[in-house]
Each structure stands twice: as structure tokens, then as C-alpha cells.
Amino acid sequence: MKIKRRNFVKGLGAVGALGVFAAGSASTLKAVSKGWWAGEKPVDLLAGNALPPECSVDPETGEVIANPDQYVANGLCTACTSLCGIRARVDRKTNQVLRVSGNPYHPLSTAPALDYDVRISDSFKAMSGFKGQGLEQRSVACSRGNAALDMLADPKRVLTPLKRVGSRGAGQWEPISYEQLLNEVVEGGNLFGEGQVDGLRAIRDTKTPIDPNAPELGPRSNQLAMINGFKNGRLSFAKRFGVLSFGSKNFTGHRGNCGLTMRGGYAALLGDWKKYPHLKPDYSNCEYYLSIGTAPGNAGNPFKRQAMLLAEARSTGKMKYVIVDPVQSNSNSLASGTRSEWLPITPGTDGALVMGMIRWIIENGRYNEQFLSQPNAAAAKQAGELSWSNATHLVVTDSSSPLDGTILRADALGIGSAESMVVIDQASGQPVAQDRANGPARLFYAETIKVKDQQIAVKTALQVLFDEARKQTLAEYSEACGVPVKTIVRLAQEFTSYGRRAVADTHGGTMQSNGFYTAYSIVMLNALVGNLNWKGGMSSGGGRYADVKPGPRYNMVKFPGKVGGKGVTISRQDFPYEKTSEYKRKKKTGNPYPADGPWFPLAAGLQPEFVLGGLNSYPYPLKAVMFWNTNPVYGQSGLSNQLDKLRDPKRIPLLICIDSFVSETAAECDYIVPDTSLYEYFASTTPWSGTLTKISTVGWPAVDAPQQTTPAGDPISMESFLIDVAKRMDLPGFGDKAIPDADGKLWPLNRPQDWYLRLFANIAFDGKPVPDANDEDMNLTGLDRFAPRLAEVLKPEEQRKVAYVMSHGGRFESEKESYQADGLTHKYKAPMQIYNETLAHHRNSMTGERFHGTARWIPPVFLNGDKLSDTYPAAKWPFKLVSSKSQFMNSGTISAKRLRDLKPSNELAMHADDARRLGVKSGDRLRLVTASGEAVGVVSVRDGIMPGVIGIEHGFGHWRFGADAMSFGQQKLTPDSAYSAGVAINRLGLTDSSRPGVSTLADFVLGANARNGLPARVEKV
């Protein structure tokens, strides 16, 4: 029926009561195309779309009936550096990970952990509601551990090898075949139409020096640098290729961009600059926990275990904790009442707070005198001590003596050997050789002593520390850090009131340009109360089972033709400037300082300097860099504004990145090689201290990775790529005859499983071999699917034992072994260093000044010693930016969509007084400006932040990963603004113009990247 003859159009005014459209809004609609679903019925009427459970446990009998459609694989989570053992629930049919929770046997996920000999089906029962067992023994995953599995299915994941189209960083990629990738990377050629590029074959030369005038730098193989991420259980494999086989010394993890200052502080305290041990508290028994620059339960390592034990200790236990941090986090929980305290502080000044405490503690005799006075291990043991220190050892403090700064050796006085130090025996008052002393020695001594007819000034190490602490008054320390004097005194008093059950710990908050000394002073507090190796005190961890070693079944580090790295790393770490040809050359003609670039003889894992050395071609040029599992373009503060040298193909001609995603770093490279991700790879690792018993955590492919496979049938990954490169180049240690067993017979390394299953065999047979896995263990964990691969690689007697290790997600010493009487079972043996001689021996290569050998307060400085505050006076730069940690998001998890849903963006956290002064409120936009760049963010007004500080959570503000427009051949990916939300604080990082070339601000002793305390100003938007 046609419309009635009314003439509505004439009669109606569009804007009156009879109109419903706002002006113009009716004419802009778009056409609609149909063809999509119409609704989804829920799976279950009451439970909705919930997953079917993995098993059923009879509430009366405890009988376990497993769901045949699923299996539960115990493995490894690498969504953060905690490296927790997890259990991944997998759908058998779709081969998808459905859920992740904790591995019941793993101390990082469960407290108390299940005994290792418990069968898998009993572990299901232990996690269930049966007799409430699962409440006590629950094994958990954090929000990130739960959500990370969504990253596996991210549509932006790299699934084929990619080669850049156009210039570096342009975002255009061409998918290429695996064969083409191998060919180009190994053989080189005019790969990009920009001229000849040397491939790996041409670069590998383990004999010819790079610079004949500086042979100490090493051979040309060093011109390949492998820059990697953290010790996620696969690093040793990459090292086999890069160092032992290819022969480059340039191999690093991420530490210098992460927490190297903390590590350095502990390395100094524990006297080991090679292995870099560190300490963590025995949380369960600790009664006073001073946490500076890290907040347990907020982030930190190991996050879950710290949080779980903190929760226990502050509710039913005895712990009181103080968090010293510019930003208040959830650790200062209201419900914890007086157990928890937050102390705000000016960034970069924690060293002043702690040196003030140290001064007060020593002045008031609150240190543990018995502990500190023991001159050697035997005397300590006799006194009932579990550790000892060099507090009593005499340090030469005489600038007129060539021995200045060293610890006096007994042979200099003719009273002992060259390996023994000198102490003043308390009983006799005479100098004795420390290793021959049988009683306590004097703690304070500042006299002269005769050495070869010369009177030289000496002090005990503790005296040196005390005199250093006394250089400033408490009032001066207080002014430097913003903490009132009476609070400094109260903290010092409290800290020394719990005997051995007080600990002081630190971590990434110290990543500032004075971070090493800050960390050394914080950890020094532990020495003053003598808590090392005690219950409730500090622990160096429980160690791991023999894996990448000459192990009981296979020698994983020896093979015919093995080379090793020689010379000097591109980062100039672990090698003193004074030994270089450059130094010798300059010394002949005058002052050898400053060096042409900074040298860091005490550093390890100095990732930022790997990058900077390559960009500056100092001390030699690089020809190729392989990045794996790391993202320094995002993670190194101050780097991202200086990418022009990275993008110049003449500077470093070949850049390869092995990664599952097109990260900020991958985006700048020539080739991207796909990698396996969580739950898809093999791994063998251990917690970073934080546990008291021996732990080896293993990961194995619980699901198949989605990317292209190699001809051997494995997904393209770091391991398979390096194996195939090595085989193509006929490198030693790969191929058919690569891994020797205990009898010397050589076994193949052609596929990743060849390496890892043999590693697992070492773990399984270390000491007393583990039991055999039975069929049920294997079915429940999905190893039945995996069994043929065990048979392909392992000897018959090894297969079921390796399966046991894999079914349990590793091998774990019983937690009953944690303590022996009042001490820890796993003890750190070497003495604590109140004064570190190696530290004092080395010099700042930019000034020639020797480093001070004990803890000291020094404000943030440039490499040449100039203060940051002189270049950035507070009047012009009134704010300091700090990088804080989210409990959920971190630098690598922006692709986890449920984490983004929980926390889509970060904010600029600012104190209410500052906000009032600026006239801003929460939700307002604000521009931050540092000397290097600007960023606009959204304000969040708080009381819980130090005035003058702006806190920015790390992990947001990406500009790659999918935030940008990329193309993979014909496939164009539209930018997703969800990835770029928020501010990336590292983009505002500083440079250091006291050094030549490209620079990022760093700690002057270790070269650790300085990302906190950035002087800034703000502008309203």
C-alpha cells in the first residue's frame, strides 16, 4: 500500500518537537552488509560458557577422574623474569592452552610446595577441594601469568621470516622463505640494494685481529654481537652458538638495562665480580624487612613468592616492612595496619638515607660486633657465626704509598702469605695474618704501620666505612634525601632491633647514575647485622641441578673444535682501560684520560653499552648484531631518540632480530626471524635466588607454535635458526657429532630437542636419579603425545626419567631441606666485603680517579663526575620522573588483551600539592619535557607520591608491536591504538655529553642504564 496522500514534508519543520535528529546527524549513515552470526547459546545453563574442568575429584574418596579432552602440562612461565613454574591446561583437540595456573611442585608458585615424589594424579587431588587441601597448597599464577597465553594467538605475531623493504625502520616487510633467510644471513651479498653486506661466514674469523694495532681487542669474530634478553632458560643455547662455536666474545643478557646496579651492589658485598651472586630475604622468618627501590607484592623478583610469603608474614607471621620508594604502591596495604610502612624519598637520594643510617648504627654501637670481628671462617664458626666479613682487614689509606687502596697482605709484614690479609688481633693488640688468627680482631683501627721501613697509614675496613659515613652529618643526609633526621634514626634503630631477622634489599629503583654506590650502601646494612645464611636473614639461593655443564649423562659445554670468546667486548666490560693499547699509546704522549669512551671493568651483562659501542664503533666496528628476546630500543632509557646511527646501514651492516613480535627493536632490523613463545619452547632455568632449596625449572612444548616450520619439522625459532646457520657454516658443536656423553661418544645436535632433552637427562641423573614416569603421569601431562620424541633422542634408561622431570616441570629439592637448625642449608661461603679491594683498584676511565672501595653517598652524576643537578637545576627542572612498575603490564606483555582491558594505559602520577599548584586535576592532560624529548600523558593525582616526583608505569606507550601501520607483503596491518596508549618513560631518557658519540645516561661505575630520577618540567596542554 502506498503511503497516504498527506504531504508530510511540507508540513513538518525538522527542528521542532516532531524532529528527532540533531542537525545534520541523519544524513551521514553508511550502508550495511549482512552475513554474520546471530547470537550464541551458552554452553551450560547455569555455568554459562565456562570451560569444562580438567578433572573431577570425589569429595569423599579423593579419587581423581581426569577429563580425557585436556591435559595439564607443568612448565615454565616467562612473562616476567621471575621464571615461575606453571601448569598449562591444554585442550587436546584444538591444541590450545586454555588456562594457566601454578605448578604445584614449584616453590615460586606454591608455599608449601608439593613433594617431588608425589605422582601427577595426586597433585590434581592436592589442588582440589578435597578435604580443603587446595586451600593450603594452592599453586597460583599472577594476573600476567594468567593472561599471557592470549599473546600466543595475537594476530600480529610473526609467523614467517621477514626481510625489510625499503630503509630500516620503515615498517614494510617482505615474507621470505626460510631457505632465503639462511642463505642471505650466512652468505651476505648486495642484500638490500645498498651495497655489499658481509654475511656470517665472512665475519667468522677467529684468528685475524680486528685491529692489528690493538690485538687485545680480539679476533674478527667479535664483530658479530649477540644481544639477548634475560636468562629464560634458553640463553645457554644461544651462547653455545655465539661464543663457543662462532667464537665471538660479544654475547650479553639484559642486565645492564634492568637491575645491574643492584647486582653490582651485591657483587661488591659478596666479593664476586665474575659470577655476580646476589641475596634475597628468607621471607618466611624475617621480622623486619627494609625494602628500598623495590616493593614486594607490587613487582620484583620473584614476584609471586614474595607476595605470597609477604601476605603470610604480615597477617599470621611477625614481619614488619618498610618500603622506601618515591611512589606508594599496593604494598602499603591499609589492611596490614602497623605491619606496613611507606616512606617517600627524593629519587636518587636513597644512598644518603642509608649512609645516615650506617653512621648512626656504627656511632651508637648497634652493629653486630661478634659477627664483624671474626677475621676468618674458622674463627667465625667457633664463635657460632654462619658467615664472616672482612671488616677487620687492614686497608692501606695512604696516598703516598703504592699500596694505597689495597688490603694489606701478610707477606708485606713478613707474618704470613701473600694470600692472607692483616688484622689486629683483639687479645694481643698485634697485627696477625688473618688466616692464622684464632680469635676476634679489632674493628676500629686507624694508625700507621711499618711496611718495609716505611710507616704507612692503615685502617680497618669498618673504619674506612665509618669515616666515609661521618663525612656528612645526619642533618646533611636528611637534607639530601628529604627524610627527616628522626626518621633516619628510627629506621636505624628498628633495623638493628631484630638481631639476624632484619634484612635490607633493593632492586631496579637504583637504576640511576649513582646506582651502584646506592645499592652497595643498602646491601651493606645486612653486613652490619650479620644476617647472611641465617633463618630470617639473607640467602644466596638454593642453586640448581647440573644441566648446562659437564653433567652426569652429557657434557653440554665441551665439543670438538670448541672455540670460545677472546678479547674485549664491544661494551668494554670486564676489562680495564689501563690494559688497552689505546691507554698505552696515550700514556706515552701525556695524560691517558679521558679514554675515547667509557670502560666498565667491573660490569657484566652490560646491554646498553653493547648497543652504544656498536653505534659508536668503539672500541671497534661491528658488522652484525643479532637481537633475541630483548627490546633495548624500548627498554634502554634515552636510546629511542637517537636511532639514526642504528638505521645507517653503513654503521652496523647486518641487523637480525629473533622475536615473536615486531617489537620496537625488531622494527629497526633487516631480518626478523620468528621465535617460539611461552609454552611452545624448551627451557631449563632456575629462580634468581629468592628460594632456599635447589631448583631446576624446565619448559617444553606443551603446544605447537603457529609459525612456519623448518625442513626438520620444528617451528622456526632461535634454536632451529642457529642450528641451521651453524650447519650451513659447518661450525663446531652442531650437526651429527656434537654432544659427548659420559663415555665420550658424540651425539647429534640437529634439532632443539637434541639439546634440551639431553640437558633434562643431566638434571634427572644429577646425584640420585629421579624415579621413572609412569603411563598415567605421561597421559595427564600430555607427555604421551611427546613420547616418540623422547625415543628419538634419548637412551632407553633415560627416557622415563626425563619424562618424570618434564611431567613435574623440573626438579626440586624438598623444602624440608631449607634450614639446618637456625641457619640456611645452602650457605654463601665467601666473606662479606665491607671494603672491596677490586672496586678500589679500578679507575673511572673518563677521569682517571680510582673508585672508592666502600659504600658512600654520591648524588647522581655524569660519567665525568659532574653533578646532574648542576646541568639540570631544580629551578628550571622542578620535577623528577621515575619509572614505576605495574602489577600487571610489563614491557613485553602489551599484546595480552586481558591485561590491557584491566589497565589500558598508564598515567602521570603526581602529588596533590603539585597538582594544586599547577592547577591540574586527575584526567587532565599534561606535557612532560626533559632535555631529550617530550610526551603528553594523563594526570592522576595522589597523596601517595613524593612531591616533585612524577611516576610513570613501565610497559605502555609502545610505538610498534602493532601500534604502527605495518605491512607484511600484501597484508596490511592497521595501527591499533590500544598498543600505544600511555607514555613510554624511556623516550624521555637523558644522554651524557661528557662522553663522545651516542650516549645514554648511565651509572658511572658499572655503566648501568639510568632510567629514574629524570629532571623534567611540565606544561599544561
Binding site: P52, R99, S143, N330, S333, G337, R898, G944
Partner: protein, 233 residues
């Protein structure tokens, strides 16, 4: 829908798994939860675990942890408040349901039968705790079920299983030896909005007055997390 999945679910209906227990126990369990706020670290593992176990649409949550900054005795503190459906003894939601789709079971769990729910959302509006929401995918009223698909199989709810601080305790109030019964005997506990007469079965230890009745809506500032369960944005 995958027929095999349906099959497993049918195997594991409540009556079968509890068959043994029904014979020996004279009465049904009474499920409840206790949250010890001294232990909650605000990590949101529960929020995510619940969403993944129950396959909820993005942005919709059956439990969440609100996160506040407050002043207490002149000092700034952070406070966290995990919340979920309280499975009240006197639910405001079930009374207003026009079809009877939502009801409280003998074991204490308040459920929604999605075949009977017409999606009018009265229950969502009636809940004083903002614990319910309209599920965008199933288009029925939705809320915490105490993971009924897990508890009916002798397992624990996902949020309890994944609680890093071991703050969430779940169990049977009719069993005097259960952990929750012991906690309730040994500790003073609070419930949310105790003046509404709903008699919630989610108990808290160390629940601050600032959060108890206003759900923190007047707290100084909301740092992160969700103010109410299930609502977007």
C-alpha cells in the same frame, strides 16, 4: 558447539559427582567465601583467572578488585577490595525476577538459569552490590557462580585457586572442620553493606569502614581497577 565438550559436561553434573557424598552426609553443604584483606596484594590474578576460566566477554567481570588510595590516621594508604556476588542469604536480586530464572540453591549458591532468563535486567538493578551484569555474549543476567562447574567436580573456584596471597578462602559452612569455618570462629569478620538485610555469604577480615558501606565510592581516588563488577568503563 563441540559435541565432545558437551559430553564431558554431561558426565560431570552435580548429582553424579556428589553421589557419594549425598549418601553419607545428611545435609547439603553451604558454600561461602572469606576474604582476608590482610593477605590481598591487589594483583588481580583472581579477576583474570575468573574471566578466563568462565570465558567471559572482554571487559565483563564476575569478580574484580577495586583499588583505592585513602587517608587513614593522617597517613596515605592503599586499599584493595576484591568483590564478587555475595550469594546472599536474603538476595535482593531473586525476589524481583519475573521468570524465576535466578534463585538460591540449597547449597547456598545463587544461580541464573539462562534458558529462563528473558534479559529484563531487573536483578542487575536490584543488586545493592553491583555484582550482576548482562553478559553481552549470552545476553542473560550473569554473575559469579562460585565456579559451579568446578565445585560440582570437587575442585575450587578459579579465583581461589589463583589467589597469590591466599586471601580467598572457600568452603562449606556446614562442615565445622573446614578452613572457612575455622577462620570464622577465630577472627572478627565483616560483610559489605551489612545494613541492607541481605546477609551476604562473603565475609571479610580487616574490612575498613571507609569501604564497607559505600564500596569505596567516596574514597579519595580510584587508582585502577573497576568501581563495580561487570560494568564497562
Amino acid at each position: 558447539m563441540d559435541p565432545n565438550r558437551r559430553h564431558f559436561l554431561e558426565l560431570f553434573v552435580p548429582t553424579k559427582a556428589q553421589a557419594g557424598s549425598l549418601q553419607s552426609q545428611s545435609r547439603s553443604p553451604h558454600y561461602a567465601m572469606l576474604i582476608d584483606l590482610r593477605r590481598c596484594v591487589g594483583c588481580q590474578a583472581c579477576t583474570i583467572a575468573c574471566g578466563m576460566e568462565n570465558r567471559l566477554p572482554e571487559g565483563q567481570h564476575r569478580t574484580t578488585v577495586a583499588d583505592y588510595e585513602l587517608m587513614a590516621f593522617g597517613q596515605t594508604r592503599r586499599a584493595v577490595l576484591p568483590r564478587l556476588c555475595n550469594h546472599c542469604e536474603q538476595p535482593s536480586c531473586t525476589a524481583g525476577c519475573p521468570t524465576g530464572a535466578t534463585y538460591k540453591r540449597e547449597d547456598g549458591v545463587v544461580v541464573v538459569d539462562s534458558s529462563m532468563c528473558v534479559g529484563c535486567a531487573y536483578c542487575v538493578q536490584n543488586c545493592p552490590y553491583d555484582a550482576r551484569f548482562m553478559n553481552e555474549q549470552t545476553r542473560t543476567a550473569d554473575k559469579c557462580t562460585f565456579c559451579i562447574q568446578r565445585t560440582s567436580n570437587g575442585l575450587l573456584p578459579a579465583c581461589v585457586e589463583s589467589c597469590v596471597g591466599k586471601a580467598r578462602i572457600f568452603g562449606d559452612l556446614n562442615d565445622p572442620d573446614s578452613m572457612i569455618s575455622k577462620y570464622l570462629r577465630d577472627n572478627p569478620v565483616q560483610v559489605l553493606k551489612s545494613d541492607k538485610g541481605t546477609r551476604p555469604q562473603v565475609y571479610y577480615i580487616s574490612l575498613d569502614g571507609a569501604l564497607q558501606n559505600t564500596l569505596g565510592e567516596e574514597a579519595t581516588s580510584l587508582i585502577q581497577g573497576r568501581r563495580s563488577i561487570g560494568k564497562r568503563g
